[in-house]
Amino acid sequence: MGEERCPGVGDHDTGGNVAEELFPWFGLDIGGTLVKLVYFEPKDITAEEEEEEVENLKSIRKYLTSNVAYGSTGIRDVHLELKDLTLCGRKGNLHFIRFPTHDMPAFIQMGSEKHFSSLHTTLCATGGGAYKFEQDFRTMSDLELCKLDELDCLIKGVLYIDSVGFNGHSECYYFENPTDAERCRKLPFNLENPYPLLLVNIGSGVSILAVYSKENYKRVTGTSLGGGTFFGLCCLLTGCSTFEEALEMASHGDSTKVDKLVRDIYGGDYERFGLPGWAVASSFGNMMSKEKRDSVSKEDLAKATLITITNNIGSIARMCALNENINRVVFVGNFLRINTISMRLLAYALDYWSKGQLKALFLEHEGYFGAVGALLELLDSA
């Protein structure tokens, strides 16, 4: 993978400055639900450069960096911005922007209006949408996408961001005492020697990769029960309309009203199999009864949905880690954005069921690694 060079990448006539890719520098990851865009804003532009810079480029930079929201759905995650980054010899800030995939047509339209194609840049994109929207980019805004492998980009992005850190802090963290709600704390984790690691990317669906080195990795499995499932079911069950709303509801709910626990069946622990009474025996199991269906709130349902999906991902990840003989599991993907409940639960579940053998790790830039990887591909090829 990654052997094929994209046509057009790095072979522009740059007037002697061969090593440098022309601005603007973008990396795009078009997923099933969300589009992730990273943009490098150079801060070291010389007066000479500024003079040469075309109007278009200036206006794009200005538009992206002076706003935190774009249209009604685009959002810049200001808190994730990486400041004073040196990338390919240039200093600048890395911006993280996301918008829903269903707004892709509007985005492409904008590219056309802003005459993006006149900038002679290459747009590096990954994710399924790179394939799906390739033709639209071509016909609507005269842009050739450079399609990049999703998993290559993901791993590249993870390793890079972890290596540069998060504005002086650690990118990677874990939860200390995950099984003890009182004493549970988020702590930095040093991922200096990352291999081998199991990378669990939770977007709309879930991909699980075993990574042995920078180049040596494989997709182990995946599941269709992912962030899209949580959000989709919540929409159906509660009538909510945003991911944030769904999570907010979940945070106020009680899933034990919805789920059937081991203790609901056995009156306590099921000792024969070493199952604790608090473990979920049947997700939504109480909902088989009409009275109980009538007595639960939307919040309870949202919480149960979150717990169900999260526990399932945890147990598949745990089985894969066992099969691959890996004990560090890194969870990424936008499902984890503002989702402390799931992160803590994953940390807890991995620790508990593996009897402390497995460690769940998380990264601050949750869902942006694919886009970062795409940007790096652009620069690497220069």
Binding site: G31, K132, T223, C235, R272, S282, M287, R293, N312
Partner: protein, 750 residues
């Protein structure tokens, strides 16, 4: 159901309930009194033998042990408990074994109603015990589900070694258990996403309350309207990635919007896929870690629902890339009840016995696919039963089977072969009136014989109709299973041996001819005699009351005899003809050490066909084990009849006499009461003898044993399969005419 003529000895120790979910399963042990035919030699001293029958036939009462398993809806629990109470006798132990969620739920009710203490047994222990029991005792217990095939279920041959396996029980949650030996099993994992999730979440999403209705909705839905597929993410370009565009990328990924309505059917389907795929994936992960390739699925999520079997099978195939097979059990719903029973009966050790399914008393496996058989669904939903008869003697493999794990007794799988199925079902339907008539006629002194014969007719007719609709109801449908079911139904209505008188008469007539047949054989030269012996065996085999063409001749031509039968036979070359190789073997090779012969019909077949052949083998220095059925089937000779026949022949023939005396000729029973032959379920005594005597030749005679079954059976030693085809349809199929001859001599390749 017919519960007449049964004595219920229901001690509480023997009464087990498994209450799981909305169905209660009850297991109990009873002794069943039924009639058996007995033969007894007369004391002929000083009597005029000429006009006396050969032996005395009597019908006696016999008590056998039977295990009953009943399944009914919980709403009937009180009625059921009343029933148990009425039949409870001899309650010394005051404990009843119960398992499952209902054991807690109905504990008080049971204790109050029956005045017994409920002893709760661990669910999983019972489940595993029950599973081991059915895997060991019921042929065709296991099946795989196959889509887009004439029959949905593909039955598997029982592997002699059932361990290790993975049992995935999908109840409200999922339990994954690794079973290594009879007593060693381990819970290796589970998942909370199970049947309860489908039901609970499904009820919330679709406002549909019942599990069955949810499945019905799911079977009509389109999950692609709700799920986000790979092609939804990748557009049309997914082909270039080597991915299937139809894979689900995100379950419910398309419902991430508040302003769109989704149909109940589509949501139910999406939910079904989500849950089945998830369970399949986990099961495969566990199978991989523990290095297992057999996964049995059970629990209410699976129970008889082709919809869920299909999605689970799909998932297992997908995630294991075909390396693991999803398997299902015909009596899956009874495992807990069987296990609870076995647990309570441990001191009697039911595992030391062999058990056989009584087809007459068991409801078959119903396809509950709502689309396919709407009628049967309602019929079978509430009440279902399984009966297992305890066999007097344990059954084992014939030690001479080349590969017991791949041995399949039956030649044609009628579940697979629609044409053959249609023919045979019609054939059995057409013969039914005659069989019922004969059954009634066999008991002229019984006042209710006609009535019972009619009940038998009705019952077997209904079984045949069920099999027309659901050929897989009792495992793989074969001519053997049709014949066996008929025998079981006859027994059920106290017709233990409708042909007893026919057999008695024919044995008498044939015995009278024995000496002259021997004399004429002895007058022949060696080579001529060998051929005459084979021809005699074949001619004897014509006398088969089970074959319509023959029974018509025998009914209308009382004079039809041995010579007439010989004249009916096809001339050589026969349809299957390796006689020359056989003759060569006799001429050139050393005498066989010991021959095992499976006999077929009584009368001319055994007396004028088999015995002269046996006599020749004995003269060559070959020992002979003559195996006859333990119980009656059609006009096949039974073991007890063979003893009398042998005794009478011995009185006339010194060769036979001394061979019996010196134990060079041994009469044994097969352990079977079938007109066909399953070499994987034979009497243990027979197997021991076969080994001791170093048997190196097996002779299988007759259509039922050598054509309907065992035609392709591979053995470790030389074998002879011979039969006369007395059915024109079958003859046609094999490329011959009626009365074509099969003479198949096989030598195992080195």
């Amino acid at each position: 159901m017919s519960w007449q003529n049964r004595v219920w000895i229901l001690s509480t120790r023997n009464l087990k309930t498994v209450s799981g979910g909305s169905l209660t399963k009850l297991a109990y042990y009873s002794t069943v009194q039924h009639k058996v035919a007995r033969v007894r030699s007369f004391d002929h001293s000083g009597k005029d033998i000429e006009n006396e029958p050969l032996y005395e036939i009597s019908v006696q009462e016999e008590i056998t042990a039977r295990l009953h398993f009943i399944k009914f809806e919980n709403t009937y629990i009180e009625t059921c408990l009343d029933f148990i109470k009425d039949h409870l006798v001899n309650t010394e132990t005051k404990v009843i074994k119960a398992t499952g969620g209902g054991a807690y739920k109905f504990k008080d009710l049971i204790e109050k109603k029956l005045g017994l203490k409920v002893d709760k047994e661990d669910v999983m222990t019972c489940l595993i015990k029950g599973c081991n029991f059915v895997l060991r005792n019921i042929p065709h217990e296991v099946f795989a589900y196959q889509k887009d095939s004439d029959t949905e279920f593909r039955f598997q041959t029982n592997h002699p070694n059932i361990f290790p396996y993975l049992l995935v029980n999908i109840g409200s949650g999922v339990s994954i258990v690794k079973v290594e030996t009879e007593d060693k099993f381990e819970w290796i994992g589970g998942s909370s996403i199970g049947g309860g999730t489908f039901w609970g979440l499904g009820a919330l999403l679709t406002k549909t309350k019942k599990f069955d209705e949810l499945l019905q909705l799911a079977s009509k839905g389109q999950h692609t309207n709700v799920d986000m597929l790979v092609k939804d993410v990748y557009g049309g370009a997914y082909q270039t990635l080597g991915l299937s565009g139809n894979l689900i990328a995100s379950s419910f990924g398309k419902s991430t919007t508040a302003d769109k309505e989704f149909s109940k059917e589509d949501m139910a389907k999406s939910l079904l896929h989500m849950i089945s795929n998830d369970i399949g994936q986990l099961a495969c992960l566990y199978a991989k870690i523990h290095n297992l390739d057999k996964i049995y699925f059970g629990g209410f999520f699976i129970r008889g629902h082709p919809v869920t079997m299909r999605t689970i099978t799909y998932s297992i195939n997908f995630f294991s890339k075909g390396e693991v097979q999803a398997l299902f059990l015909r009596h899956e719903g009874y495992l807990g009840a069987i296990g609870a029973f076995l647990k309570g009966a441990e001191q009697d050790n039911p595992n030391q016995y062999s058990w056989g399914e009584n087809y007459a008393g068991s409801s078959g496996l119903m396809s509950t696919s709502p689309d396919v058989y709407p009628l049967q669904r309602t019929r079978s939903g509430t009440f279902d039963m399984l009966e297992m008869d305890r066999l007097e003697r344990p059954l084992v493999n014939l030690p001479l089977l080349k590969d017991p794990s791949t041995y399949i007794p039956d030649t044609v799988d009628l579940t697979d072969d629609a044409m053959a199925r249609k023919y045979w079902l019609t054939c059995f339907e057409e013969a039914l009136d005659g069989v019922a008539k004969r059954a009634a006629a066999s008991q002229p002194d019984s006042v209710d014989a006609l009535e019972r014969a009619e009940k038998f007719r009705q019952k077997y007719w209904n079984k045949l109709q069920t099999l027309r609709q659901q050929p897989f109801a009792y495992g793989t449908l074969t001519v053997r299973s049709l014949l066996d079911t008929r025998e079981h139904c006859l027994n059920e209505f106290n017709f233990p041996d409708p042909y007893s008188k026919v057999k008695q008469k024919e044995n008498g007539i044939a015995l009278k001819c024995f000496q002259s047949v021997i004399e004429s054989l002895d007058s022949l030269g060696w080579e001529e005699r060998q051929f005459a012996l084979v021809k005699g065996l074949l001619a004897g085999n014509v006398f088969d009351w089970g074959a319509k063409a023959v029974s018509e001749v025998l009914e209308s031509e009382p004079q039809f005899g041995f010579e007439e039968a010989k004249s009916k036979l096809q001339e050589r070359p026969w349809l299957e003809d390796s006689y020359s190789q056989w003759l060569e073997r006799l001429k050139e090779g050393p005498p066989h050490k010991c021959a095992l012969i499976f006999a077929d019909n009584s009368g001319i077949d055994i007396i004028l066909g088999v015995f002269p052949f046996v006599r020749e083998l004995l003269s060559r220095g070959t020992e002979v084990i003559l195996a006859c059925n333990s119980g009656p089937a059609l006009n096949d000779i039974t073991y007890s009849e063979s003893l009398i026949v042998a005794e009478r022949i011995a009185a006339m023939d010194p060769v036979i006499q001394s061979a019996l005396k010196e134990e060079k000729l041994l009469l044994v029973q097969t352990g079977s009461s079938s007109p066909c032959l399953d070499l994987s379920r034979l009497d243990k005594g027979l197997a021991v003898l076969v080994r001791e005597r170093k048997t190196d030749l097996v002779i299988i005679e007759g259509m039922g044993r050598a054509i309907h079954t065992n035609y392709y059976a591979a053995l470790k030693c030389e074998s002879l399969k011979l039969a006369v085809i007395k059915n024109s349809w079958l003859a046609d199929r094999l490329g011959g005419k009626i009365f074509s001859v099969i003479f198949k001599y096989e030598v195992p390749c080195k």
